[in-house]
Point group: C2
Chain length 479, copies 2
């Protein structure tokens, strides 16, 4: 067990912080509440970007860049929007040595400024749809912050689309929800429950917000991505009008959707163990690290020759940067193992003099620590299959954990008992009012995370008010 | 000739603006001096990023992310640095609904905040070198702005490295200069003159600034990238100290280097013609556009079948997104040609009923408009060789232009006459003083762009003062 990491069972929040420090994933910036994403953390973000970006492009989206500073008046154009974001704004009041005539906010999200440009670019239905994504950072001033999970500045992508019809906008909203589900489940191995947010939890200015909720190992929920159908709200606020096929002026229908560096926090808390982060193979910047073991210079030469042979073999299949040789001088193999375990690299191959003799290497899985010797002639196949199994196993393990910690309850007493005894996701009937949701949250701290899209239809009665309900919703304590 | 673009000969600055509008590359943001990079412009930036990023990684660098907001006190730590950047800062004074205790500046560049983190991360020589790059936007409040060339916010990458010795830092500075040269010349087809900046033109806080200067078609110089040896200046300002191999505390030696979206402006002004931008094949987000031509539904089906066959063939070799089929309805082929010319796509393939019969396509080069029919069986080879020739031809043409417009002069009268009659780069002897450089700039508007690294050694006398000089330096009017 790692001495620099507190066990999960002892103190989960501290474990989380320790894992980030041990893996050199992020650090606190000099400005309170801001974050530095260190190279090993950023490499995970780059892998996430690559994966998401190619899915965005496959679905017809293009990237662009909109300015970081937004006139303060823009934010106030949409009533719910300003109410939601005003308390969190960072404001530029001086620039170029002068007081500004209009205060500028550092973007907390870009609906208003992108809407302003869309209004300029869109003249007729021929200009629609517009399907644009942007990779950037946003600023939401936070009082209580936690690296990756909640910081004043964070990295994300925000997609913004405009359409001719309500149906198209709804289709886009659900398409991106599905893209996110695939990304989280198939690439990050994080099982999620997808569905709508209740009215009082939706994005300020949206008609409907869809969410992807994941269960962390402390059984709390993490919102891991959202996709919003904005209806014509922002089109009206930003004057995105166009000449429709009937030759009449109409407002466009817009959507927005985002995933942020928060997903790295989700990754840590879904798969990590008491020795640190575990990165699923499909996302891992380095998939295999090879550690040479030797006692003298003669052994060193033979070992390194063999290590290079293994590395060259694997690089041809997996790519140059996916295979790392740890050739650091003056460091014991055990210490090397330790650093790579804490960085979550999926497979380690240990190569000593005996492995040279056998033309083999000892492969060790990061997740279950299983070891097996493998001959170089079978190395590609073995590594490939181990990476595949590990990817599947991580997902299955998390899925099982999620299932085991999801409970259906039928009374409010049972709700409270299960929540305090077991925790996790609680599926319960709810009467659909903010009032009841607020009462439950005040009394139990659990909030409605998601109204699940699938499998939750069932006639029932609200656990609090007894009023009729058509489906169970998922409650949980949340990040 | 495009009606929406003024000819270069008539009004070069207007031509530049028109090309950007016609190609939908960028737009003015609602905040004065800021820029929206539209999808077609951003795709060029993405291609530049991809190319540079892989060169950075090949040379051992990793990416990270540092916060956008920097405490104002940080900027003042290095005396020259604050003097250089203070007038251009944008300042956040309020956040989260409150006046901030310390004002925060939106990063104009990140030496100080990265230095602060390096001071924390670097303990001993074992932690060196640190080779980090960051992709982000920076803010420098500008009064007179021009899209891509000078805007208050722009996108760039900034590399920041720390080393054990002065020699290593110098080696890194020159290594990155060479990476930039390769990128600009081999990928962007922009010939550059590399070398040092004179003392008074260097980065605020640097020991030496190296630059890459390109000649635009109006014969003005564009600084297209810089690489700075910062000596121990920032290490001292930011307290980046480490235990050296002699077990003594020492300051690290640091460098920084950057290329920005300005390079897109350079691309436009190096290769563009009176019909718009021309994108060099190695950088082109779309390398080939295929335009179907037909008069009726029967032709349409046959033409599209053939177009798909050509597209599939080419995609296998060049990649899915490099080949675009323009299947827009209700648009005449001529209008389609026009839009792709203005977007600078290297090759266009026209496919009509006669091409279907011949199992061929008519390939048209964007730069010289040469047309040639090509049978589908030879299409891959032909497209490949045309892309290669176009890449070379664009570079050679620009190189010839640069050479033809670079003049050596030996007297100040000749200097002024050549500058006003011919323009371009003027190679002249200079006594090495700021005073003389300032006098020349005041009287002629030409500044010293670069002290060329190669081939400029020659004994001579300053054209103004007659004092001895060991090499010619390059003067020019500049962006």
């Amino acid at each position: 067990m790692a001495k620099n990491i507190v066990p999960r069972s002892e103190n989960f929040p501290q474990w989380y912080q320790d894992v980030i420090v041990a893996g050199q994933l992020a650090d606190h910036a000099p400005v309170k509440g801001c974050m530095v994403v260190r190279p090993d953390g950023y490499a995970i973000w780059e892998a996430m970007q690559q994966s998401l970006d190619s899915m965005f492009k496959e679905t017809g989206h293009v990237n662009a860049y909109f300015p970081m500073l937004i006139p303060e008046s823009f934010i106030t154009k949409e009533a719910e929007h300003v109410e939601g974001f005003a308390p969190e704004l960072a404001v530029v009041t001086q620039a170029g040595g002068k007081e500004l005539e209009e205060r500028l906010v550092v973007r907390p999200t870009s609906e208003t400024v992108i809407g302003h440009m869309y209004a300029k670019w869109i003249q007729s239905y021929r200009d629609l749809p517009i399907l644009i994504n942007q990779w950037c950072s946003v600023m939401r001033w936070e009082k209580r912050t936690r690296l990756f999970l909640r910081t004043s500045e964070f990295l994300w992508q925000e997609g913004h689309t405009a359409h001719e019809t309500a149906d198209e906008a709804q289709e886009e909203t659900l398409l991106m929800l599905e893209v996110y589900r695939k990304f989280l489940e198939d690439v990050c191995a994080i099982p999620v429950i997808t569905g709508e947010k209740p009215e009082h939890e939706k994005f300020p200015g949206a008609i409907t917000t869809y969410t992807l909720e994941a269960m962390m190992q402390d059984k709390k929920a993490l919102q891991s991505g959202t996709s919003h159908n904005l209806g014509q709200n922002f089109a009206k606020a930003c004057e995105i009008q166009y000449l429709n096929r009937e030759n009449e002026m109409d407002y466009a229908w817009t959507t927005s959707w985002g995933v942020s560096t928060r997903a790295i926090g989700g990754l840590i808390m879904t798969h990590g163990d008491d020795d640190g982060i575990i990165i699923p193979p499909r996302l891992a910047p380095i998939q295999v690290v090879i550690v040479p073991i030797f006692k003298n210079d003669e052994q060193k030469k033979a070992v390194f020759d063999h290590v290079d042979r293994i590395a060259d073999t694997l690089r041809e299949k997996f790519g140059r940067f996916k295979i790392k040789v740890d050739d650091r001088e003056n460091m014991r193999p055990g210490d090397k193992f330790f650093t790579w375990i804490q960085k979550g690299v999926p497979l380690r191959i240990e190569v000593g003099p005996k492995d040279v003799e056998k033309e083999a290497g000892m492969i060790v899985r990061r997740d279950n620590r299983e070891k097996q010797s493998c001959h170089i002639s079978e190395m590609i196949e073995k590594v490939d299959s181990l990476l595949e199994s590990m990817q599947t196993d991580l997902y299955e393990k998390a899925k099982t954990f999620q299932k085991e910690n999801t409970h259906s309850v039928d009374t409010y007493d049972e709700f409270k008992k299960v929540l305090s005894d077991k925790g996790g996701f609680i599926l319960a009937h709810w009467d659909g009012t903010n009032e009841t949701a607020e009462k439950i949250q005040e009394e139990t701290k659990a909030s409605i995370r998601v109204i699940p899209s699938n499998g939750s239809e069932e006639e029932g009665k609200c656990v609090v008010t007894g009023k009729p309900s058509k489906r169970r919703v998922a409650f949980a304590l949340a990040y």
